[in-house]
Symmetry: C2
Subunit: 370 residues, 2 copies
C-alpha cells in the first residue's frame, strides 16, 4: 500500500481516507448543497451530521425523495456486527437514522449480524457474538426508537425470515463477484462468502424503497445488492454514507470495537472515559504549552475535536468557538479534552440509564419470524 | 471425458460407473463379506439390498457398529433434493433406512433440501422446490416410518435449527475445499457454495454417532463434513452408499427426476407405468424373437431386470429364475417387462394409498424449530 493510499472494506479499514477519492473509487455521489437544501425543505431543519458532512455521500437518495414526495414512503435499515460492546462510533448512523425516522415517519429495521462476526473473527464463538448482539440491541433501543415501527433483526434468531430472501439474492451472486467487491480469496470460508446475501435480505423485507444510513465501509455489500435487485424484480436500495469515526489514537483507521484502548464503549464508567481520553486521544496540539500558545493546535487532526464535531457538540456556534480557540492556541489540549470528557460522560450517564431500561423493552423490538 | 470414464458428483452423474474404480476415487471402503456377516449377526437377517450389493460401499460402518455393540446407539439421516416428484430410484435409500431403523431401533432424520434445488436449478423457484419438498415428504412417510422417532427437515422451514450448526461447519470450509470436492468455479453462485454446510448440519443434530444411507453421488458432501467434524469437536458421520439407479433408457446415468420419460414417478398411474416401461426401458434382449431364443438376453444391462434386482423382487430365488430364463432366451423382453410392470403397479397401488393418507400425518413428522 503506497503511503498516500488507504483501504476501505467491511472488514478492514486502513490508512488516511481521502473521501473524495473514495467517492470516485466506490462510484457513489457526494451529497451536494442542492440535495441538502432539498432535505431541509422536507424535514424543516438539517441534522448537524448533514451540515458538517459526517454524512457525505449517497446512492439514489434523490430517487427515494422523489418517491417520498409522490406519497410513497421508504423504510430505513441499518445494522451492526456484534463483535464486542457498542462504542460511540457505532451510534453515529443510529442517531442519524432516528432523526430520519422522526422526520419521515418511516419503519426501521436494525440488523445484528452475529453470524458475520462469528465467520470473520477467528476467536469468537457464535454464542459470544449472539450475546453481544443482545447487548448491542440495548444501545440501539436506548436511543429512543419506538417499538411500533422499529424491529431488531438478529441473524441467527431471524434466519427463517431472512434466508428465503437471501437465497433469491445468493442465486444471482457468484464467487467472482465477491472476489471483486470484497477481495475474497480461495481461503475465504464459505460462511463469509454467503454472508453478504444475508446483509442484503432486510433491503427486501418490505415491498417499498429502502434507505440505508451506514458507515461507508459497508457500501460494498450494497453494491452487490444493487446489482442483484433488478434481477429479482426488486428496487435498488438507496444509501447514505457516514465517514469512518477515528480511533482515539488518531485518524487512519476506524474506531475498532476490539481495541479496548482505542475505543470509548457505551458501557464505560466516567473515570474510564476520562482516562482513555486523557491518555489515548490523539492531540493536534503542540509539544509544550509555550509553543501551543504561539503556534496554536490543529483541530482537523485532533481526535477530541473530531468527536465533538461528529457527535458530541451539535451546536455549530459552540463548535466554531472551540475550533477557533484551539487553532489560535487560546485553548490547550487539556482544556479541549476536558470539554469532550464532560460531554461524553454527560451523554453516557443518560444513555446508560436508558440502556438498562431497554432490557425490559427488548422483546417488543425483536422481529418475530414469519 | 474418455469413453471408459465417468463423472459422479451430487449434481451430475455421467457415463457407465465402475463402482470398484469409484471406491478408489472417493476413498471409501467396499462392503466386505465379513461386514455383511457382522450386520446379519446383529439384525437377524440381511436386507436384499445388502445381499445384492445395491449398498456396496461405506465409510466407518464398523466404527458405528462397535459403538452400537457397546450400547451407544447411532441415529440415521438421509434426504432428498426436491426438484420434482419422487421417482422409484429415490426410494432405495429410504426403504433401506426404514429397515435399519427397525433393526437398530434408531431415530431418523430426513432432510428435504429445497434451497439446494433452488440454487442448482436455473428454472425452479423456491416456492416450487418447497412445494415439491412437501410432496416428496408424503412418499417418505408412506414407507411406514414412525413419527415418534422420525423427523422431516425442510431446509427453509427448519433453517433456524440448521443454520447455527451449519455456521460451525461453514467456518471450517473454504472456497478451495469446495472447488476440490465439487469442482466449483468462480461462476458458482454463493448459495451453492454455502449449501454443503446445510447438508452437513443434520449430522450433528443429535450428540451421538450418525449413519447415513445415501446414493454414492452424495458422498462428496460428507467427505467435507468428515474433515470438519473433529475441528468442531464432533464425531465423523458414517456412510453406507447405494449404487446409482439407472434411468429407463439404460445404464450410464442416474434416474433423473427432471426427465419425464426416463423416470417412473411414485405418482404415475398404472397405464403410464406400463407405457414407460414398454416404450423406454432399455432392453438387454436380441433384435428379434428368433435370435433372442437362440442367443438369449443380457440381464446385466437390461433395465427391467435391474429394477427387479434393485427394488421390486426381494425374493432371491424368483430373481435368479428370471435371470436364468432371460439369459437362456426362454424369457422374452416383453415377458420380463410384463413382470416388472406388474411389480411396480402392485407396489404403487399400495404406496399411492399410503401417500394420500400421509397428508394427514405430515404435521406429526415435521421437525419443530428449536
Amino acid at each position: 500500500m503506497p503511503t498516500d493510499e488507504f483501504i476501505v472494506t467491511p472488514w478492514h479499514v486502513e490508512g488516511e481516507i481521502d473521501y473524495d477519492k473514495l467517492i470516485k473509487r466506490f462510484g457513489t455521489e457526494k451529497i451536494s448543497k442542492q440535495l441538502l437544501t432539498r432535505i431541509e425543505k422536507l424535514t424543516g431543519d438539517l441534522h448537524f451530521m448533514l451540515r458538517r458532512g459526517i454524512f457525505f455521500s449517497h446512492r439514489d437518495l434523490n430517487a427515494v425523495l422523489n418517491e417520498y414526495e409522490k406519497g410513497n414512503k421508504f423504510f430505513l435499515y441499518t445494522g451492526r456486527g456484534p463483535s464486542g460492546h457498542t462504542h460511540i462510533g457505532h451510534l453515529v448512523p443510529w442517531v442519524f437514522a432516528k432523526w430520519l425516522q422522526d422526520k419521515f415517519g418511516t419503519n426501521m429495521y436494525f440488523q445484528l449480524t452475529d453470524d458475520e462476526k462469528f465467520f470473520s473473527k477467528q476467536n469468537l464463538s457464535l454464542e459470544e457474538t449472539k450475546q453481544f448482539a443482545f447487548e448491542n440491541a440495548l444501545d440501539f433501543i436506548a436511543l429512543g426508537f419506538k417499538p411500533e415501527n422499529t424491529k431488531i433483526i438478529i441473524d441467527t434468531e431471524n434466519i427463517k425470515t431472512l434466508y428465503p430472501i437471501a437465497a433469491q439474492v445468493a442465486k444471482k451472486i457468484n464467487f467472482s463477484n465477491t472476489k471483486a467487491v470484497f477481495g475474497f480469496s480461495n481461503d475465504t470460508n464459505i460462511g463469509m462468502i454467503f454472508y453478504t446475501a444475508l446483509q442484503s435480505a432486510p433491503c427486501f423485507i418490505e415491498d417499498r424503497p429502502v434507505l440505508i444510513p451506514l458507515g461507508v465501509d459497508q457500501d460494498p455489500h450494497f453494491r452487490l445488492t444493487r446489482d442483484v435487485a433488478p434481477k429479482i424484480g426488486k428496487q435498488k436500495p438507496a444509501l447514505i454514507h457516514n465517514i469512518m469515526i477515528p480511533a482515539l489514537q488518531g485518524p487512519g483507521g476506524k474506531m475498532s470495537a476490539s481495541d479496548d484502548n482505542g475505543t470509548v464503549y457505551t458501557t464505560d464508567p466516567p473515570e474510564v472515559v476520562k482516562k482513555k481520553i486523557n491518555k489515548y486521544a490523539f492531540s493536534g496540539g503542540q509539544p509544550d504549552i509555550e509553543e501551543h500558545r504561539k503556534k496554536g493546535g490543529n483541530p482537523d487532526i485532533d481526535v477530541s475535536y473530531q468527536y465533538l464535531r461528529i457527535f458530541f457538540e451539535p451546536d455549530d456556534n459552540k463548535l466554531k468557538k472551540i475550533y477557533d480557540d484551539y487553532k489560535s492556541g487560546k485553548m490547550l489540549t487539556g482544556e479541549l479534552k476536558a470539554i469532550l470528557i464532560e460531554k461524553i460522560n454527560g451523554f453516557l450517564k443518560i444513555h446508560q440509564e436508558k440502556r438498562e431500561k431497554a432490557r425490559n423493552q427488548l422483546s417488543k423490538f425483536l422481529l418475530e419470524n414469519s
